[in-house]
Amino acid sequence: MGRAPFSGIGLLLFASLALSPSRSDELKDLYFGEALYYAHQGYFFEALERLDTEVKQHDELDEPELDTLYYHIDAAEFSLGDFELRYRMHHRAGRAITAVLEGAVDEIVRNDAAYRLARIHFQKGQMADAMRALERIDGKIPESIRDDIDFLRANIYLAEGKPAASVDVLKRLQNSKNFGGFASYNLGIAYLQDGQRQAALEQLDRAGQVATDDPAELAIRDKSNLVLGTILLEDGEFDNAMPFLNRVRLDGPFSNQALLSAGWASLSAEKYERAVVPWGILARREVTDGATQEAMLALPYAYGKLDVHGRAAVHYGRALDAFGAEVDKLDQSIESIREGRFLQALIREEIRKDKDWVIHLRALPETPETYYLMELLATHDFQTGLQNYLDLADLRRKLHSWQASFDSFDDMVDIRHDHYEPLLSVVDTQFRELDSRMRLRIEQHKMLVKRRDDLLTTPRPEFLATREEQAVLAQIEHIETQLKGAESPFEGSLLQRTHRLKGMLMWTLETEYHDRLTRFDQNLRGLDNAMAVLQQQYDQYVRVRQAATHSFEGYEMPVSRLRARVSVSAQKVELLMARQGHVLEVVAINELMARRGRLESYRDKARFALADSYDRATQAQARSDEP
């Protein structure tokens, strides 16, 4: 017998990504915090939308160090890659994380980024690139991902066909808190691939006895025992296989396969009565399960071996009925998928709110196909396609809701336009008048300030004369001019009197100069305050005026462009949904047809075996009737 069953064993990769920054860091940027709020709830579209905008705005700043995101920019760029990864945008995530790797970032951040990049490559099956990314890890490694890195490295080695290298790494992880059980199982598989059969058996035996109450670790413990039992069964060590198969919990996810194998082990050891026990249990379980269907055929076969042909015939009859009913159900399911009901069920909101929604699909009466699709739903390719379909459905919902909001935008802009347009023309006329008066006062104020500043460096007392003093001074100077050309006999005495008068005036101006300058300065400062209030009101008016205009102007083009973009994207999403949906339907139908083919084959065998059992039962009856 070949190793075919191991093709399905697979390796276990335990995913755990941490969001940055850690809770203990002080958050300085609310908008980054907002993105994290969405991301922590699993809303990665919303998280990406906010963080992408925030990072772009930060990058466009002339002085980014004044922005609050400056303190978290490494973590923010890193989180962008992380969110993209979680939103299944591997192309962009790879670019974002590579950018972090190539930037001047902290050693811990760079190593974390290298690990995540390696994970992306691993998920895409690019093992050499994944290993290259891991090789960039150097220096201080975040404690939280130390084991993750080793576990990933071990899995890459296994995927590259280097089990010996993987063994070395997995040995180190045996006591890991997060990976203990998984590493233990994977080490067994690594030994097996490396041709170290005995070491593999011993390791799987250890992995099959891990003491734990964690559901995931309990499942991996069951799987270890199942694999170990199956290896021994395939190698003809039927009795040795039994204890390991019996270790598998009866209510675990590997229970059906273990019961089936336990039956085969007993049958192969020609212990037919013991084979009847596990198969008897299994044959009563969910009929859609492949192992159960096999047990429904195997159980009467074992009864036949025990020469209980009558009971064998009864069980073959039951199997025949059950297979017939299941073939009918599969036909209905295939028809249901072709009618589009499968896709309709997948995007039902109330189903997807539950994390176990895939399981609950089975309970929907209108989607009988899901009974047979559980294994398919668990495969990576189908999951990727399914998630893409669900993501597209979300995008479609968003785009449709945006399309509806554009009309509201238009209404809003129109209402504002109708309200402000007539008001603004009146306000603008009044404002222009006030504006010219205000500009004049501003110029006068500037002139006074200049004069004050000049007086501080070059004292000019006459500049601070009162209006009366200025008039008197002008009169004296006028009299002086007249006297100089008059040739009067009183000229001398008159000039003397005018000089005396001027001297008195100048005395006052000179002696009071400092007091006057102080008063002038104080008055000017009072005026400064009044001018500042005026300027503030002016600015406020300008802002309000601008805000009024901006509330209805300049939206036509952006709204129109966005409307067009949304429309184009909505069409693309519809197209992609149809294509993705078609792929899912085809794969699902193919799976159901395969299951139907298998059931039909079982039905033929059951029909043949039923007839054979009746014959044998009749012959046995005849023999027993003979004297």
Partner: protein, 177 residues
Amino acid sequence: MMSRLIRTLILLLLASGPMAMSTAQDISGDDMRSLDGQVQEIKSDVLSIASDLSNLEERLLYPSNTQVAVFVSVAADDKFRLDAVKIEINGELATHHIYSFKELEALQKGGVQRVYTGNLPTGDHQLSVTMIGKLKNGTEFNETGNFSFAKGVEPKALGITLADPGLGKSGIQVGDW
């Protein structure tokens, strides 16, 4: 021997995988990858639209000179259960929010919730924050904090930090951002 026959048949079927018996139509890996690439592209396009649309909405609904945003976070390591928050501005209800388990968990992990965005004129305003919840020991609490803030010409962001109101200290802090 029938058992061998059945087992061989079953193992073959199991090993061949879900798509082995496809009939009319086959989907190649390249088709799947191409489709996946296109889905990633449209996600990128729609994200870009969402970002532009948010900016447009913000300009239209909350111009920068009147914009006020209120954010809520919970203090690190405080494990009290926050049930609801009520925000009043100048004596009028601005918003109230009842927290789901998922939302509370997101806050406890360091997320910040934008609980309100609105418009206010420049000047001084009053903010009243009420939080309702349950302490670790099961005692229910209802605490209100009153604060003043000044709205300038630039957008205003207020960050409310909620903490365990026990030990006689105020559990509500408001900071300018």
